[in-house]
Symmetry: C2
Subunit: 183 residues, 2 copies
């Protein structure tokens, strides 16, 4: 009887250890997929921001040089790009929520694997967690830089618009307005 | 370009959904293994308790009827059975810790699956969680009943030993004193 019991115990523990390794493996895959999605979506968001920055700079550079119709056209493009930036940010947030779920699942699976004696699975999961966090941190830095640049461009735009408005008020004519683009 | 982007998004979401389903599946397996192990270990613990109860009742029933050597022998068996009960309880606690990890993992995986749109996987996991909790609750009730019965037997033992002691004091013979050592 003690022999049979021992075999039963080994069996339970070994089945639990295997099942726990399986959870860790699938959590790794889930983390890998969500990390890739989040990294891609942040990259797309940063690209959309850079496009918006370029459009706004082009608008500032052409201040006073375009007809009302041309200016309207540029503004339509800028507004469209702002919508695009917002959509990209929504996507980032959606994938980030999946990614955070994956991080939590992976941490819990690594802990559970360690407790069942599946140390290799636990170490692998912890390594993957580190790599995923670094990857996301790096790409996030790129989007933070782009957001900072956009804020700078918008501050510049406000200043330039104010200067342009006071120039108009002080009696500048349409031809002279053009000098502003050299600023 | 919008077409390619759309395909990329679908792909990310579909890969995440699949990976999340995989985590849910493996968490279900892990829960199933830990539930089986916990149910078995609680059953064994309850059996060990019932054996201990039977031994203590046999000891009480034979009070004053056995030689010192026979009583020592019974006490050795009772002490051995108490160690067995303790070992079984340790095993229950070990498997319970795995089981709680599995419950938490399964709940988190079900939530994550729901958020990725893997609703079937989420519903399955939640059903499994319910079944696992009911199974453990049922077998736990059996061990709680056994613990209550043991406490009753021990209370009865204390009372019987006290009655026996006062019987000895009021003129019982020397042979019977031997049984009081174990009080």
């Amino acid at each position: 009887v003690p022999f049979i019991q021992q075999v039963e115990n080994l069996s339970h523990e070994s089945l639990i250890r295997r099942a726990s390794s399986m959870v860790t493996d699938s959590a790794n895959t889930y983390l890998s997929q969500t990390t890739q999605a989040l990294v891609d979506s942040i990259t797309q968001y940063a690209k959309a921001l850079h496009t918006l920055i370029a459009l706004q700079r082009r608008y500032l550079a052409s201040l006073g040089k375009l007809s009302t119709a041309e200016e309207d056209a540029i503004w339509q493009v800028i507004i469209g790009q702002r919508v695009e930036v917002g959509d990209r940010l929504d996507e980032c947030n959606r994938f980030e929520s999946n990614w955070i779920n994956a991080i939590n699942l992976c941490e819990m699976a690594a802990e559970a694997a360690y407790n069942t004696g599946a140390e290799h699975a636990s170490v692998t999961a912890k390594t993957n967690l580190q790599v995923a966090k670094v990857q996301v941190e790096e790409v996030r830095q790129i989007s933070v830089d782009a957001e900072r640049k956009l804020a700078e461009t918008q501050a510049e735009e406000i200043q330039r618009m104010a200067e342009y408005a006071s120039f108009i008020e002080s009696g500048g004519d349409d031809v002279h307005e053009a000098y502003l683009r050299e600023d």
